[in-house]
Symmetry: C2
Subunit: 492 residues, 2 copies
């Protein structure tokens, strides 16, 4: 059937077409099925939406991924891609071979899977897991699409954190120490999706983070390290699409996590990687056993792909550092590099940098690099190379002036901090969009508090957001405060 | 945020709103997340799509399920429904309790789940299955929503077929026999989704099938039976929504099948049910073991719900009857009722009717009711009660005059018929939309053929569709023809 194209601007990464019910019936096509669209230049596939009045019969609406098609196109019913069969197979707990996994990755890369097919893929992994062989194949196939950076150096360092711990902004410090030791570390980081700040959001307080591939290469050649937003380079296009369905479902299947991280490292040309796996009741990884399993998976898949991986299983039963939110975390980072700052953030960063340098076979003292101020100098070099002000001080970094302090409602010892509630507080205060917004903690787990002691202060740019955060019902549950003699923690 | 509504006609059963990127950013909401929409009349929830030019900033597009909202609405970010947590739990293979299952069913019923959340639900069932208790809960909760028919009679019969076998149109014959025996049988059937004909499509050749609940009740009170399209009554609204995501994924998890069938029977007020479970290489149920497991599930869940269920495990390794497609199947049905017609369709229908009558505790001879012509008379009563012509003859039923016959490419014995290829042939020929289109079979499994013998004839209403069917590459694989001495079936 010949239909006239017209642009139809709907935000979707799936190439979607909108057709009138009459034409859909004539084509025998239902919503969510596919049509082939052919013109002189070739044939492409679109997923169907049906309307009775946004589009006239005889015309076909082209969403953003298909807007390059103009004039009239020949439209016909299209079969389901082969890879959906493998997606179903995974749901039935059948192990997939390399060819089948490549077919799935290719179809995701070319946006041939609908949201529900992609969801079925993620659910299959969540329910049935991936074997070591499957994870290795997935990592290879994911690294094979998108762009790739190559370096002349034998050693390229990298780090990654599984996430889930507010304030845990070790990356800028680790990158500064490792780069100061003379090892190249081209770090790409994400922006926050559900948290109050990602490393890219925090780093953006200091300088530009939207570097293209050639800019990353130039910065790293000059100052050994960079901290760039991964979204500006195309290192893992498949990962971005998968995250679109994982996020609303809060799913993060283990094999997919390993493949996503290691495929990005491989595409970035990294040879030695340290992975931070925080575990704790309210962290992404809940138990030590789970953290160990994930760690083994990372190391084994790394071996198969010739990427040397070291995992650091770390405490994730509460935040790291004192600030939560881009500006507040940026202050903590600068403070640590200046020889000051929260001791937990400092010691964790030094330990991660030490592990990474050791893995790289470099004889350097992470602690000394920090204490001597060499890491701070390197960090200022990176800021400058990424277009920021190398002379920035902690006081230059503005933080939200509209505040509200939450105090202890009883006395006792802080036994636990809830990462989820803290993240929600930071989000409500306006972070990461409002860079100056967030939360400052006044206590840490293990510390004793008295009734009325300040626990944390909300910082916001607007009174409405400050009040919205302060009104969070769960705010009282941020810290679990108990007396040592209490044996029964909760009565149900 | 206050936004002005405007209608936005997109075909979706999820209540979707379309907002401008600027407003989405101000709200902190992403595509596929939810917003609460409030006006004087109350608060409802919408799932977000984002655009930059189909909608002006300050306005909000309302798709069909939300078009009743007019004027301005207050829009704010909405939390994820509680039931998505239970969906995730099922993916982690944790057994759900009655409350959790009710929460999922209620959220599906009220269209609170997005396509990807609903997909995750179906995938969780596919991957991890449902226990007997879970299936019973699901059936009860599904029957509790939508409408319900109540009868004064102690015995209300019903039948269901799992499907997947072309031509297998036993329902009109079974209903006619059972109704002729004086037992009420209010049968609702589906239209074809992926097959060339559903019972409703075939029955529509004779009479109207779009009966509302009160019409079903009136017809059955008058002539003991009806054969109506289930879509015109609201017996299982949740099922319809689930099918929307199952169909494109070709998923049909066992527990969901049992709950869908039995909840509908319960809502229709049925007390005694026979379930036809055809199994075979290309049927929906592939093995005898699987058919037996499904059968046990049906019976056990039925016991818990006080619906007496009998299952008939039947041969599904090829079509039943000779015609495939609405009109061609209608001819077969009428032929059997007239004491003629394909012997496999006849004997299977008689057997199913016998099992059902016996289960109902009714002392009646199904074979005799058919042979005496009493079932035919009852069928004509039903046709008339549903607004059709009771005097219809086989010759009155028009079949596609544009034909193409496919012949045997070798001699041997027909060992197997491929249901999938036959269905595809029928669909390409134009069925079920073109009622006269379809396929007529000239051979059945077990029969010997010579090179050049006619195997089947394609009937179409248009030459283009006939040619499209005839061009199906797999047409040669409809029948597997082997010589008895051949030991090796296929060389791979």
């Amino acid at each position: 059937m010949e239909l006239e194209t017209e642009p139809f601007d709907l935000d979707t990464s799936t190439p979607t077409v909108v057709i009138h019910r009459e034409d859909a019936e004539a084509l025998g096509v239902h919503a969510m099925e596919r049509v082939e669209l052919s013109d002189d230049t070739g044939t492409t596939v679109g997923v169907v939406k049906v309307t009775t009045d946004l589009i006239e019969p005889g015309t076909i609406g082209m969403t953003r991924p298909l807007m390059h098609l103009e004039g009239s196109v020949d439209v016909r019913l299209s079969p389901t891609p082969q890879s959906t069969r493998y997606v179903r197979r995974k749901l039935e707990d059948i192990e997939l071979d390399h060819t089948e996994i490549r077919s799935i990755v290719q179809d995701i890369y070319h946006d041939r899977l609908t949201d529900i097919e992609l969801t079925a893929y993620v659910c299959g992994l969540q329910a049935n897991g991936l074997s070591l062989e499957e994870t290795t194949s997935l990592t290879e196939c994911m690294a094979d699409v998108g762009s790739r950076i190559t370096w002349d150096d034998a050693v390229i360092a990298d780090k990654h954190c599984i996430g889930g711990v507010p304030g845990n902004r070790t990356t800028p410090i680790v990158v500064a120490i490792v780069a100061a030791a003379g090892v190249k570390i081209p770090k790409t980081s994400s922006r926050a999706i559900t948290s109050p700040a990602g490393t890219a959001d925090t780093m953006e307080v200091f300088c530009n983070v939207e570097l293209g591939q050639s800019e990353i290469e130039a910065v790293v050649r000059k100052v050994n390290g960079c901290i760039a937003w991964g979204g500006a380079v195309d290192l893992s296009p498949v990962d971005d699409r998968i995250i679109e369905v994982e996020t609303p479902l809060s799913l993060d299947p283990e094999g997919q996590v390993i493949a996503s991280v290691l495929s990005k490292k491989r595409s970035a040309g990294s040879t030695h990687v340290v992975v931070d796996i925080p575990y704790g009741e309210s962290a992404k990884v809940a138990s030590l056993a789970e953290a160990r399993r994930l760690s083994r998976g990372f190391k084994r898949v790394g071996e198969h792909l010739d990427v040397r991986v070291e995992c650091a299983i770390t405490r994730g039963d509460g935040p790291i550092g004192r600030g939560i939110g881009p500006a507040l975390e940026a202050r903590d980072v600068l403070a640590v590099l200046e020889g000051d700052g929260p001791s937990d953030l400092r010691s964790k960063s030094v330990e991660l940098a030490s592990i990474l340098l050791e893995r790289c076979g470099v004889d350097a003292d992470a602690e000394a690099l920090l204490e001597s101020g060499r890491a701070l100098e390197t960090f200022r070099d990176i800021i400058e190379a990424q277009g920021g002000d190398r002379g920035v001080t902690r006081e230059d970094i503005e933080i939200g002036s509209l505040t509200e302090t939450i105090v202890a409602e009883r006395d006792g010892v802080v036994t636990n901090a809830d990462n989820g509630v803290l993240a929600e507080l930071g989000r409500r205060a306006g972070a990461p969009k409002d860079k100056a917004a967030g939360v400052v903690l006044h206590v840490a787990t293990g510390e004793a508090v008295d009734l009325g002691d300040p626990l944390l202060t909300i910082h916001a740019e607007s009174a409405a957001k400050r009040d919205d955060a302060a009104a969070l019902e769960a705010r009282a549950d941020v810290f679990r405060i108990r007396r040592p003699e209490e044996m029964v923690i909760d009565r149900v």
